[in-house]
Symmetry: C2
Subunit: 383 residues, 2 copies
């Protein structure tokens, strides 16, 4: 393992590697903006290992990139990652792009990119003797944790908001998870989860709290680059809620450059819903108001984003752009993805295509190449 330590995103304090570390003790709270930690690596040592082993590495899941992960061994969790990158020429032509690819994360074990983080969480939890994990979630992270815990035969405790859909509850029930439905919204469920987790000594699968989960998510960027023969494309587009996924993609992209597998980094494009767009506003230096708008894009309807510092850092490092789209635009994009690319995505994931159409209105995409991260495929609403 090439981890050298942990560093607070807020105050910059450095700590030794501790697999049970969550947030920075020097910063007050336990929320992202209040001291989320970042895993640091010895990239020159990792570089040597990756260059000597990757070509003979037979794995196709997230642990293919073990030298860039915070664990040295694997335990046989459900195989996450290894998802295809699909060229879609028709949509590329519509957008005036040179080429367009879909990273199809609907093909993960529980139909969602979040399985990458869960694979790392469950591996670390078991390696350190935990028999129970918990998380707060609007749906997909909880379902992911439930599936992985079922496969391992360990306890899964999930805390979900009052307004969770029946579709998502059904998935949790199928896997046999211990489900706590909050009397409040996601923020209240989050607080309830952290309290129960601390009281019971369970391992956390809250991605903006446990610093190791972003490391699992970043493997999507590593895979995209490898599938493109380490030729970096211009744009990577992803939906943004807490900021973990696109922040992780930024980190993974920089790391590939640090270990000299790539010669540049892609520009990150983050997409939020018009109804809930705190990170768009913040990135553009505008006042953030909680205006109580609603959106069908449940998975990114995060009013208090917990990994904002990380996301904003990666956006700036990549000279990225953030924009917001309407539910009508997302809905049209969801239909286009199915009818012209053969990929049925969940509503939130289609925000990527809607965002790219909006970007194409404000700047030319000629001679550019883009990758859309289709984060999940669970269907919650009529489509």
């Amino acid at each position: 393992m090439f981890v050298t330590g942990l560093r607070c995103f807020r105050c910059g304090a450095k700590y030794e590697m501790d697999p049970k570390a969550y947030t920075c003790p020097a910063c007050s709270g336990n929320r992202g903006d209040e001291g989320i930690l970042d895993v640091q690596y010895d990239y020159s040592a990792a570089k040597a290992m990756i260059h000597s082993t990757l070509h003979k590495n037979g794995r196709h899941d997230v642990f293919r990139f073990l030298p860039l992960l915070p664990t040295s061994k694997t335990i046989g969790v459900l195989p996450a990652g290894g998802t295809p990158l699909i060229p879609v020429s028709g949509l590329a032509a519509r957008l005036g792009l040179q080429s367009l690819f879909l990273k199809d994360e609907t093909r993960n074990p529980t139909r969602c990119l979040k399985d990458r983080a869960t694979a790392v969480a469950v591996t670390m939890a078991r390696a350190h003797g935990y028999r129970d994990l918990y998380c707060a979630s609007a749906g997909n992270a909880a379902i992911s944790l439930a599936g992985f815990c079922a496969h391992q035969g360990i306890g899964c405790h999930v805390f979900v908001p009052r307004e969770i859909s029946q579709t998502r509850l059904n998935w949790l029930r199928r896997y046999g998870a211990d489900v706590h439905i909050s009397t409040g919204n996601y923020d209240q469920a989050y607080d309830e989860a952290e309290q129960a987790g601390a009281e019971n000594g369970w391992y956390s699968r809250n991605c903006a709290f446990n610093p190791f989960l972003v490391e699992g998510k970043k493997t999507v960027a590593l895979e995209i680059s490898e599938q493109l023969g380490w030729q970096v494309r211009d744009l990577i587009v992803a939906p943004v809620g807490d900021g973990c996924t696109l922040g992780a993609i930024g980190k993974g992209s920089r790391e590939l450059n640090l270990v000299r597998l790539t010669d540049r980094i892609p520009r990150l494009i983050g997409v939020q819903s018009e109804a809930v767009q705190p990170l768009v506003k913040r990135y553009h230096g505008e006042a953030v108001r909680e205006d109580g708008g609603t959106t069908q894009a449940e998975s990114i309807a995060v009013r208090r984003p917990r990994n904002a510092l990380r996301l904003l850092y990666e956006m700036r490092a990549s000279h990225g752009h953030m924009l917001a789209v309407s539910d009508e635009q997302i809905s049209a994009a969801q239909r286009l993805l199915a009818q012209e690319a053969g990929v049925v995505s969940e509503f939130t994931s289609a925000a990527t295509l809607a965002g790219l159409f909006q970007l194409a209105e404000s700047e030319s995409l000629a001679n550019q190449s883009a990758v859309l991260v289709i984060t999940g495929g669970r269907l919650d609403c009529d489509f």
Copy 2:
């Protein structure tokens, strides 16, 4: 391409390779038992090619095994196959098995093993200038064809029985397929499909009619063996409807032995529903009566199986076994797969686990190892 010709399963007549060939002209009808063709290869030439290229072949989809497929080039269809093989120790212990693996075909592009056949069909259709494909289907094959045609931007005409579920119709609509709902059952829809296909000159994606589709399906057996390091396990269990899938698995398993990648073949276990079990009866030499029973296992509720000769041939070659399970047994197995293996399968696919439990009652599975083919993951009924 190492195809040497086509051979009729019924009369044994041999024909030259013809990518537009369907059934045997010497046998009267166009149904499986009445002259379905089998693709023949030069295995000694294919063997040399596979041994020299497989280890440096970077593909993870069905075309990884191009020397054993009836096409020499690929066109970039949706990536089918490359699905994980998941060890499940808890269920293995319950069954008294040494080890148990799930081949998770729910992770195909349209959530179903049928995508493997569709990948070959669309590739061959396009290579020979077709702009439209058709099929008859109780659901999954039609949905698969619709997804692949959407991605290619070509026409898709599907013929479905009157009683098709709204869930499946929704998937067809999402992909924008041209859907013909028959006034009758699957058999009537099949006749209507063949008539329309012939009249319009469309390419067929009917697996028990077009001989090349089984070649796509057999790749699931090739992948299983490679994932197990070419160490053949004792049992491969699959649900049986028309007989195409398990017949294809038998063919693929024999071919690996012919090209000396494996040293034996696995025993095939075929599972049908108690309500509709014509191939179980036929394999055991019992009278087949159409008793009109109903089952939730829609995908295998085939009363007039069209690839019976192939299935029976492969069952005998492997000293296999066929058995029937009740909907109650399948339902219990579906819950177990989710709660103890973390895999949410469709109802029909859970028949594999139900069948293995039934087998364990009649013979000891001690020191044996088994693979269940989890053919699909679309949820049609409450679970």
